[in-house]
Symmetry: C2
């Protein structure tokens, strides 16, 4: 009995690790049964415990797909309460007036380089797309990369990086021209031809929305690859006087940052935590 008990303990620990490292992946019951030389019925009980703990702790949904081709799939999310707590914490950090830079820009590189912060941003953005199939996360170099990577980790999909200048190591590229929203200049954006398979569903992310030129350019690039834009999400958006290149219903942002009159003032963006609507279908 003691031996059995310790076996279950070890299974639960390793399963948790395995599921966390392989989110959005259907893991067949037989995979775990073989991995632990255990009966499927025991594995099934294990997964029920994992599912319940993940739910109780707000870690995510362990979706169970029944049948011969079935198994378990871990779908990470963040619940409203934890998201709000995090957003408040970062709002305070952003409100630090020493972050103000000439021209109304704001220093936030220190925040967007900390693993904990990037993980929570990733969870908040991923939660907004729980009902969507996403095949790739896309951004433009360089400040959006850490955000793209964090979301890609949680969705377990590749991330692709467009650039303003092509590099030798990109190989053949496809490029688009777009009008920068902020300074009305024509800019170019390139993406390696091999980096995005046709028909992919693409989530576009970036650190900051000003005029929306980059986001519109990225959208055009996605279409050039015969792919679909699932959504556009930003860490933060600024105040913009004029018409943006993307409309308010096309994107989400976690923060709104106003730096007018040389004062930083941060409020919540238009992101919405839709996890309950999603879970109504899945967990009950």
């Amino acid at each position: 009995m003691n031996n059995l008990k310790s076996k279950r303990s070890a299974r639960l620990i390793d399963m948790t690790r395995y599921l966390m490292e392989n989110p959005h992946t259907l893991v067949p019951l037989t995979f775990f049964a073989e991995r632990y030389s255990s009966a499927k019925s025991s594995i099934s009980e294990d997964l029920t415990i994992v599912r319940q703990t993940f739910r109780d702790r707000g870690i995510g949904l362990l979706e169970t797909i029944p049948g011969a081709a079935g198994g378990s799939k871990f779908i990470p999310y963040i619940l409203k309460e934890e998201a709000e707590q995090f957003v408040n914490e970062i709002k305070q950090a952003l409100n630090d007036q020493s972050r103000l830079l000439p021209g109304g820009y704001i220093y936030m590189a220190d925040l967007l380089s900390r693993p904990y912060i990037l993980r929570q941003i990733g969870r908040i953005i991923a939660t907004q797309y729980l009902n969507h199939d996403i095949d790739a996360v896309m951004t433009v170099a360089t400040k959006g990369i850490p955000i793209a990577q964090s979301i890609a980790n949680l969705l377990n999909v590749p991330f692709v990086i467009a650039r303003h200048d092509s590099r030798i190591t990109d190989g053949s590229t496809i490029s688009v021209n777009y009008v920068s929203g902020s300074n009305r200049r024509i800019e170019k954006m390139v993406l390696s031809k091999r980096s995005l398979p046709e028909g992919s569903n693409v989530l576009i992310v970036d650190d900051f929305l000003r005029g929306g030129g980059s986001a519109a350019g990225l959208s055009d690039l996605v279409k050039e690859f015969n792919c679909n834009v699932v959504g556009i999400s930003f860490f933060a958006e600024g105040v913009y006087n004029g018409e943006r290149k993307i409309s308010a219903d096309q994107y989400t942002s976690i923060f709104k940052i106003n730096t007018e009159n040389d004062k930083i003032s941060v409020s919540e963006g238009n992101y919405d935590n839709k996890v309950y609507g999603y879970l109504d279908n899945k967990e009950n």
Copy 2:
């Protein structure tokens, strides 16, 4: 009894998740005791099971620090066998001749954008520095960023990104000039002054080593910040005819890629898996 048992199960699952998300962090026994409203003796038993499973599965070391100020610290590593299996897998992927680009360059952006591959690269590089204190991971934009972020996740430290051109959003910067190893041009590298506190121990990483100019530039930049270079690690190194700006004992690489005569040939780099030497002190 059944209730007690299920409580332990839930604790083990949540603990595993918590430790994985907070590596290299001393978690006091009292933190878990309060989190689960459980006796310290139960938590202690839980941690023994977690420690043993992490070791059995090659996930990492759960270091136990005894005493009133003590607790547990999860130190992720990868064992030789898993590392070698991964290295072989990627070696085959890199050996695909269609990756060859004009000028002897090689396309590898698809590999360095997949969460699983980046995690394993991170584990291999982090394992080489198990005996070192690292406060920050540093790279130069843009292709080293995903590798830096992956290692930073495992070490739970920030990563800092130097650039060839400074951006408004960097604020004040410190810059160094360096001689590019490959084309002997004088280049510039800048880093935001706020991004690296004095006295930090810095691990430098990048995707590819050619002449070593960038790595030498990054080292100079670290010194300009009155910080220390702990080590320099690359995903891959090329064949270089001439003297590199950094010597062979200053860096590690996972792969050596030869593209002479328009043919890709990949072998293992000089990385060394030192986990056993480290564990001799800690696990026995």
